[in-house]
Symmetry: none
Subunit: 215 residues, 4 copies
C-alpha cells in the first residue's frame, strides 16, 4: 500500500539552509567530539547528527581539524566576554560576586552543552597543543585574572584575609572546572546520588568561610 509515487518520497530530499548549517554542524561536532574524542568521531556521524550528509560538512569546513578549531572559537569567545561584562558591572561585595559567578557557571556552562568544551580541550591537548594554547590564553588565563581581581577587591574591601589572589583564584576555579569535566564524563556512570547545586553551595560556604576574616 501507499505505493502511489506521490507518497513514496513524501517530502523534499533536502533543503537549502546555508545560514543554519554551520551552527548545526558545530553543535553536532561538539557533542560527538566530547563523547567519543576527536579521533573516535567519524565525520559521517557528525553529518548524520547534524541532519546532513558527509559532503555537506565539507562545504562548510575544510576538514575535520578546521571543524574542531571553528567549534572552539565559536563556542568559547562569547562566553568569556559575557563573564567579563558581568564582573565589570557588578556592584556589591566580593563574596556576593563570587556567588553570582558560580551561579552563572552552573546556569550557562554546566547545564548547557558548553560544559563539553573543557573536557574536550583537555582530552585533545596532546594532539592539538596549538588549540589548547589558544584556549589557555583566551579562556583560562582571562578567567583566572577575572577571579583574581574579585579576590583582590575582597581583600581591599576588608572582606577577605590577606592572601595570594592568583593561587586563591585557582583554588576557587578548580572545583568549578572539575565539575564541568565530571558532568561530561563520569557523572552519568556514577550510581551514587549527587547534586551539583548542593556541591557548589558547600564549596562556596567553605571557601568563603576560609577566606573571611575572623575578628
Amino acid at each position: 500500500m501507499f505505493k502511489n509515487p506521490k507518497y513514496s518520497c513524501p517530502v523534499v530530499r533536502w533543503q537549502r539552509r546555508k545560514e543554519a548549517r554551520p551552527g548545526e554542524i558545530i553543535d553536532a561536532a561538539l557533542e560527538l567530539f566530547c563523547e567519543k574524542g576527536f579521533a573516535g568521531t567519524r565525520m559521517d556521524d557528525v553529518a548524520r547528527r547534524a541532519g546532513v550528509t558527509k559532503g555537506t560538512v565539507y562545504l562548510y569546513f575544510k576538514n575535520k581539524e578546521a571543524l574542531f578549531y571553528a567549534l572552539v572559537n565559536e563556542m568559547v569567545v562569547p562566553q568569556v566576554e559575557r563573564a567579563e561584562n558581568m564582573i565589570t558591572n557588578h556592584a556589591g561585595s566580593a563574596a556576593s560576586l563570587i556567588e553570582v559567578l558560580i551561579q552563572q557557571w552552573q546556569q550557562n556552562i554546566i547545564k548547557t552543552k558548553l560544559s563539553g568544551i573543557p573536557k574536550l580541550i583537555i582530552s585533545e591537548s596532546g594532539n592539538f597543543p596549538e588549540l589548547a594554547k589558544f584556549y589557555i590564553e583566551t579562556v583560562i588565563q582571562r578567567g583566572r585574572k577575572m577571579m583574581a581581581r574579585v579576590i583582590e577587591k575582597g581583600i581591599e574591601r576588608g572582606e577577605f584575609i590577606k592572601c595570594d589572589a592568583d593561587y586563591v583564584s585557582r583554588v576557587l576555579l578548580a572545583p568549578m572546572v572539575f565539575t564541568a569535566i565530571w558532568e561530561r564524563s563520569l557523572a552519568s556512570l556514577d550510581n551514587e546520588t549527587y547534586d551539583v547545586e548542593k556541591f557548589f553551595k558547600i564549596q562556596l560556604e567553605i571557601m568563603l568561610h576560609g577566606l573571611t576574616k575572623t575578628n
Copy 2:
C-alpha cells in the same frame, strides 16, 4: 571502533602474562594513551616505546582494548590499597591526616606517571563506559569514602564544624583530581608560572580554615 555495545565490556578483561614485558608495554601504553588518546595511539608506537615490535604486544595482550583494561587494573588497584592502609594507621588530628593525604597525592600521583590515569579515564569514558564504571567504583567511590571518613572523624573530634561529610569530601578532592588532570594536559602549555606545592598549601589553608570551628 567500539560502536558495538558488546565490545564495551569484553568477556576476558585482561590477563597477566610473563615477567617484565607486560609491565614495560603497559607503561608505554599509559604514556601514549594519556598523550594522544586511545584512538590516537598506534599499537606500533606502544610497541616501539616499549622496545619491542608490534607482534610482541599481541603475545601479551589480546588486543588494544585488553591492553587498556590491563593498564587501568594494574595501575589503579595498588594505589587505592596503599591509601586505605595509610588512613587506617594514622594517629593524630583529622587536619593533619588531610595534610598527609594531600602530600601523598602530590608525591605518589601527581609527580608520577600515575597522574595520567584520571585524565585518561575521563577522556575515554565515552568510549569505555564499563571501564569507567570499574574505575568509579574501585577508585573514586572508595576515595570519596576515605576522605568522608576523615571529615567525619574531624567532626566527631570537634575539630571541624558540622557539615555534610560526603559533599565536603568532594570539595576537597575536586582540586586534587583537577590538578592531576591539569598537569597531564594543559600545564606544560601554560606560560604563567605556577607551583603545584603552593597551590596545595593554599588549598589546604583555605579549606581547613573554612572547616575549622571558630570559637
Copy 3:
C-alpha cells in the same frame, strides 16, 4: 570511472546546444583535459574557466563524458575537411604540396589550441577506446590517406623515388604529430632552446632529399 564497458560508447555521444555557451565550455574543457587529463579535471574547473557555474555545464552536456565526446567531435571534423579541400585544390609539385601541408599544420594546429587534441586522445585512449577509434578513423586514417596520395602523386610525376607511399606517409606524419604532442606537454619544461619552424624546415629538407631521385 569507466570500468563498465558499456560506458565507453554511450548511446548519445554528444549533443549540440544553444548558441555560444557550449563553445566556451568546450574550449575550457579542451585546455583543462589536455593539461590535467580527463580524470584530473574537475567539472567545477571547466565551469569556472568557461565563466559559468557547474550546474550550467550540465545544461549543455549530459555528463563529463559527453563533454569529452562533444569536444573531440567539434574540434576535429572541420580541420580534416579543410585539409582535404586544400589537397584537392592544390596545383603544383608534390614536394611543394608537402611543404604547404607542413606550413598549414604549424599555422592551424601547432600554434592553436587544436594541438591539444592529439595529446588528449593519446592520453585517454585507454579510458576511451571508442572515442579513440572515432579519432583514428576520422582523422588519422584520413590524414594518412591524404599524405599517401601526395606521395603517390610525387612518384607518378617522377619527383620521388619508388617507395611504399603508406609507410612513407607515416614517416612524414610522425614528426608532425609528435611535435604537436611535444608542444602540449614537455616543450615548456625543456630549458634547451628549440625552434619549431626550424625543426620543420630541416625535417622537410631531409625527407624531401631522401625521397628525391638522384639522377
Copy 4:
C-alpha cells in the same frame, strides 16, 4: 565435496616476498598508469595486478605519487646508461650506428613495457611537471646529445652532409619516440595493418638517404 578442512584453504594465504614486492608493484603500476592514467588508476588495481592487497603497496611506497616517482626512476636510468655505453663502444660508420640504435630501440623499448614510459610522462606532464623535468634532463636531453654526437661524427667522417646536428637528431628521434607512444595508445585500436619493423626500415632509408652526400 572437498569440504575436508585440509583442502578448504589449500595453500598459504600469503607469502613474505620482501625482495620481490617493489619490482612487482612497479611493474603493475607502469602498466596501469600507462593504460588508465595516474588519476584513473586505483591503488587497489595496482595491488591486485601485483598480486597483493592495497595495504602492501603502502608498505613499500609512501603514497601513489611516490610510487609514480619510483617507477620512473627505476625504469629510466638503467636504459640511458646502457644506450650511452653502446655508443661509446661502437666502431664503424655513423650510419651503421644509427641503424643499431634504431634496432635497439625496437628491441629494448618498443617491444617491452618500457615503451609505456614516454606515453606516461607526456600524459602526466601537466600534473607532474617536476617529474617531467627530471625525465627531460635525464633521458631526453641526454638522448638528444647522444644522437647529435653520432650525426656530428658522420659529418666529420664525411658520411653526412653538413647540417645542424641538434635539429637533425630531433628529426631522427621524433618518429622513434612517436612510435613508442603510438604502440602504447592507438596502435591496438587501428584496424589498418602496420608493421613497426618496416616503418623503421623505411624511416632509416629516407633519413640516411636524405643525410648522405650525393657526390
